[in-house]
Symmetry: C2
DNA sequence: GGGAAGCGCAACCATTTGGTTGTATGATAG
DNA sequence: CTATCATACAACCAAATGGTTGCGCTTCCC
């Protein structure tokens, strides 16, 4: 467990916004899955212009979900699983809030309360 | 484990889009935390108009993250933890794609894989 | 009954998004 | 050196976002 610096609200906004598009989720899935993916290689898979895909990658990069690595004249897109894990943690925290409601109910019946 | 119907791309879009706003995440956190929250009670907590908060709640409702229950002239907003869990699963699947890349490597070096 | 609270909805506005095309630049192949 | 490929970036445009105000309807309280 490394103590990672917390994401700011604006960063969290960018992460979820980046994930709120099927094309971008598909790109993330491909690069996390290990597909060797230059931008033009990615662009060939979708029926939209190269520039459009380039913009999607830029959004993902701004959210920290992918990185670009120069390799000759190509830019290889690689996934950043840490950011995905971080987003998942955030959702986990929301779920915890919900679960915590039951521990409050439990406090009304002191004997039934389990330790944390 | 219940076999829940899969979310469509459009639904997933709505879920992540709804989460891509700090005010909406805060609303979700409050209602999941059990705060008795009518729309006007929520609106009082943010420095924006009632109608703006109403729109945020509508976005959350459209994403299935929240439900409204009529109670007299008030609408009580309640959180839907199932959708949060669903979103988390989706992120989990993306992480699995990444982890699966190592299982190939692991087959070359059996034994090095033990962590989660 | 009548006024006020709570909500929904529509109109409006500035900004952002998601796509396009076109142009410029760096790396590669011949 | 020249032509081409991969990328970057700017301008442009339609549509969606996120906020506002205003109006109308239902419900509650005196």
């Amino acid at each position: 467990m490394v103590a990672l610096p917390p994401l700011s609200d604006a960063e969290i906004d960018r992460v979820f916004h980046a994930l709120a598009d099927a094309t971008r989720r598909d790109i993330v899935a491909r690069v996390l899955g290990g597909e060797q993916a230059s931008i033009s290689a990615l662009a060939a898979r979708y029926q939209m212009s190269f520039a459009a895909v380039q913009k999607h990658v830029a959004v993902l990069e701004g959210a920290g979900l992918v990185t670009k690595q120069a390799h000759g004249r190509e830019r290889i897109v690689r996934g950043n699983p840490e950011r995905i894990a971080r987003a998942r943690e955030l959702l986990g925290q929301l779920e915890e809030l919900w679960k915590a409601r039951f521990s409050q109910l439990d406090s009304l019946f002191p004997d039934t309360r389990s330790q944390e």
